[in-house]
């Protein structure tokens, strides 16, 4: 007999925060890209490649923090690629993003075999450890959720606040909005539209890579084939649901994180076959999109900006 308390308890919410973390990073990445007018469908691939390179670097150096740094750099590079294809070469944004996704899947599987001889998973690497926060962790309820998480979870919350500040309070944020919504206006105001777009999409890739690093270095300590599992797409849904704002994306990511944590709970107690439960986050995404998208208007003009 399964008691409801076994399912719905504080641990569930702590788990929800953890599962939300990669979505937070990726959806923030999505926001930066879309705000400069570039749809980034390739978040999934950037996440996966970030996860892989993080493990590879940690494997090579024994230091997971270097792994995280490498993830960020690799994500940024893929963001730059997406930017080059869509900005400099005026390519189709969705095709480019999809290409990056296919590339990530194939390349990480290929390299996985080359480096570790295994297509499925890499060996374990050094993990990051938890970071108990002295006074916080002793508080009831809140303490268990927030007081004893791994580093990248806390960093995620910090990044949300930073993103909000950058987008709403700095002149860089103002320019991002201008470039995305009306590139011609930004151009005639003397802003370098191309540079701003590149910056936006590189930041996007960096954040996605960081999200991937969470999956492979923080949540688990290895790389597994296709481990991003569609989170890059769920992150896009979170971004839309959150109205293209950092705090909105945080809220939406928490919602999706909650469903995923719930799914894992249900699976661990064997209440339903795993496959059925695995569908839950995806169905929730569809339902949410169906219910909320109509009221949301994307902020940007997604056409490539072509000058003389």
């Amino acid at each position: 007999m399964v008691d409801i308390v076994d399912i719905i308890n504080v641990g569930l919410f702590a788990g929800a925060l953890r599962m939300a973390t990669p979505l937070v990073y990726a959806s923030l990445g999505g926001i930066f890209s879309e705000r400069v007018g570039i749809i980034n469908i390739g978040l999934e691939g950037m996440m996966l490649t970030g996860a892989f390179s993080g493990v590879l670097a940690t494997f090579g150096t024994g230091n997971p923090w270097i792994g995280i740094l490498v993830s960020i750099i690799v994500g940024g590079l893929l963001g730059l690629l997406h930017g080059l294809l869509t900005v400099k070469f005026a390519g189709n944004q969705i095709v480019s993003g999809t290409g990056i996704n296919i590339f990530a899947l194939g390349f990480t599987a290929y390299m996985s075999q080359i480096v570790w001889g295994s297509r499925g998973a890499s060996p374990n690497v050094q993990d990051l450890g938890t970071v108990p926060i002295p006074l916080l962790k002793d508080l009831p309820v809140v303490g268990e959720i927030l007081g004893n998480q791994t580093p990248l979870v806390y960093i995620a919350l910090v990044v949300v606040v930073l993103s909000y500040i950058v987008l709403s309070k700095t002149s860089f944020g103002l320019r991002i909005k201008a470039v995305g919504e009306h590139p011609a206006a930004a151009d005639t105001a003397g802003i370098n539209v191309y540079k701003t777009k590149y910056l936006g999409v590189i930041i996007s890739g960096m954040l996605a890579g960081l999200g991937g690093a969470f999956l492979s270095l923080d949540h688990l300590s290895l790389f597994a084939l296709g481990m991003s599992g569609g989170r890059g797409f769920i992150a896009l849904a979170a971004m839309i649901l959150g109205g293209w704002t950092p705090f909105g994306a945080l809220g939406a990511s928490l919602l999706f994180g909650f469903t995923e944590a719930l799914q894992m709970r249900l699976q661990s107690i064997g209440a339903l076959p795993s496959q059925i439960i695995l569908t839950v986050p995806y169905i929730v995404t569809i339902v949410v999109l169906a219910g909320f998208v109509r009221r949301r208007i994307p902020p940007s003009d997604y056409k490539p900006y072509l000058k003389d």
Binding site: T170, S171, G173, E181, H182, A185, A189, G190, I191
Partner: protein, 505 residues
């Protein structure tokens, strides 16, 4: 004393067209200089080169006597050149202050955007030049005339001594134009030099000190305002006399074809765009609807064609109610529509000429057999016939419409909509963006259709066009029909007043 700006021997080509051909242009300090020409004469291109948006192929530019290379708008801005474009370069979701300071934002500690300083700087600017705007208002909530003021302030904020105004009156009522002219005179008094790009003769003559006329990329001449008249300028622009009146020999208006009562409809922002609109259009008649764009015309057309739902009201065509019919069914019943933006709504640019000629009629005989198969033979015959009848200048019927000129594209739309001898025609801004030749053609065709018995609803922001073609004129203001007059019993002044919400007592 050096001129403010001198452009020497400017040549610029785009694929297939020479936009500027060895153009010489001089702007003296403190003058208002008009740049006059038809659409496509090269005025905007020339000024875009001055503003750094384009680079000329040949030629030199001198500002205040010094030779300069203007690679980008930021260079132009540094030289004191500011430009107010036809299509506003304003970011809708940002405030007036944010838009004005964009690109040189006041900052605290290098990163933070200093909103308060932005607002106070903008306020100071407003006071200095007597241009009233609310710095904290979001641009998308402002009327067009005010948005234009923001554009001017933007240029002044950057220290513009030379202001380029590109077709500034295109979106203004006669009364707003008066306000703009007052502002230009004030700027002139403060020592600024202004370049006034326009194709409107009367305005150019009213405000400019000197006028340069461009035709097909070449300078025809530069004249002093006192030494010329609108008719002469027109001849310079076009090279021949323009007919501004049309023959009016036709049967008197007959039965009512379209009747509209108590129309209410919402716009995309869920605000009431049409408020109890009522009018009728007779056969053998053109009813012109005059009004500044944005007063409900677009929504009116959408409601009549069936794309927008009505909240309340009745529409009947030949006595039969059509408000519940789909757009498709209304076309079947004899309603045809020349939409206001031919490239966005009237044509599928990547379809061929023949495919565009059957748009909307493609699923009925003779173009379709057995409900889903297209009758390609009939379609080609039809296309060939229309290409001949309407003199559509295209290499062949399979050419993609994107490659045709604006005037030719409009002929395709006109051919499609008029060839079925429709009972009721809606024509929205039908000559916008067309050169004089194409404009005359479209207007002649509208008169022809009226002569054949069609009821025509002409919606245009061009008052001259309304006055030239209409039998009766209705004025729309803020979603209401505020007046309906016989053509012979009204004047441009009265209409202008009504268009701006005034009353003529």
């Amino acid at each position: 004393m050096a001129s403010a700006v001198e452009m020497r021997g400017i040549t610029k080509t785009f694929p297939g067209v020479v936009a500027n051909d060895k153009v010489n242009f001089i702007l003296e300090k403190g003058e208002v200089h008009g740049l006059l020409g038809e659409n496509g004469a090269g005025k905007t291109v020339l000024m875009s080169i001055l503003y750094g948006l384009y680079r000329s192929d040949k030629g030199q530019i001198f500002v205040d006597g010094k030779k300069v290379k203007i690679d980008s708008p930021s260079v132009a801005i540094k030289l004191g050149i500011g430009m107010v474009h036809q299509n506003f370069m304003l970011v809708p979701s940002l405030t007036v202050a944010e838009n004005i300071v964009l690109g040189r934002e006041p900052k605290k500690h290098h990163f933070w955007f200093d909103t308060n300083k932005a607002v106070s700087d903008v306020q100071a600017l407003c006071d200095r030049y007597g241009l009233e705007v609310d710095p904290k208002a979001k641009v998308h909530s402002l009327p067009v005339g005010v948005q234009q003021r923001v554009e001017v302030l933007k240029a002044l904020f950057r220290g513009a001594e030379i202001l380029i105004l590109d077709e500034p009156t295109a979106v203004l009522t006669p009364q707003e134009v008066y306000g703009l002219f007052r502002a230009i005179r004030a700027l002139k008094q403060q020592g600024k030099s202004v370049i006034f790009i326009s194709h409107k003769l009367k305005e150019v003559c009213a405000i400019c000190d000197r006028i340069t006329v461009l035709k097909r990329g070449k300078v025809v001449g530069t004249v002093d305002k006192n030494e010329t008249k609108p008719d002469e300028l027109a001849k310079m622009m076009v090279g021949r006399e323009i007919l501004s009146t049309f023959e009016k020999v036709h049967p008197a208006p007959g039965n009512i074809v379209l009747q509209v009562e108590g129309l209410r409809a919402l716009n995309d922002r869920k605000l009431l765009a049409l408020k109890d609109v009522a009018f009728e259009v007779h056969e053998f008649e053109i009813l012109g609807v005059a009004g500044v764009e944005g007063n409900g015309q677009t929504e009116l057309v959408e409601v009549l064609t069936g794309i927008r739902k009505l909240e309340t009201g009745k529409i009947s065509l030949n006595g039969k109610p059509i408000a519940n019919l789909s757009a498709h069914e209304r076309i079947e019943k004899g309603l045809s529509n020349v939409p206001e933006d031919r490239q966005k709504k009237g044509l599928i640019l990547d379809f061929s000429v023949s495919e565009n000629l059957i748009l909307g009629r493609h699923d009925k005989p003779p173009f379709a057999k057995s409900w889903f198969r297209l009758n390609l033979e009939r379609i080609s015959d039809f296309a060939e016939r229309l290409i001949r009848e309407y003199s559509i200048k295209t290499p062949n019927r399979g050419t993609i419409v994107r490659n045709l000129s604006g005037g030719t594209q409009q002929r395709v739309v006109v051919a499609r909509e008029f060839s079925g001898e429709p009972e009721f025609i809606i024509a929205s801004q039908p000559t916008r963006g067309l050169d004089v030749g194409a404009t005359e053609y479209v207007r002649r065709k509208l008169l022809e259709m009226r002569g054949k018995g069609s009821a025509v609803l002409l919606i245009s922001a061009d008052l001259d066009e309304i006055l030239a073609l209409s039998d009766r004129i209705a004025v729309i203001y803020e979603g209401r029909i505020v007046a309906v007059r016989e053509r012979s019993k009204t004047s441009e002044f009265e209409l202008g007043l009504l268009m701006a919400g005034g009353k003529n007592d």
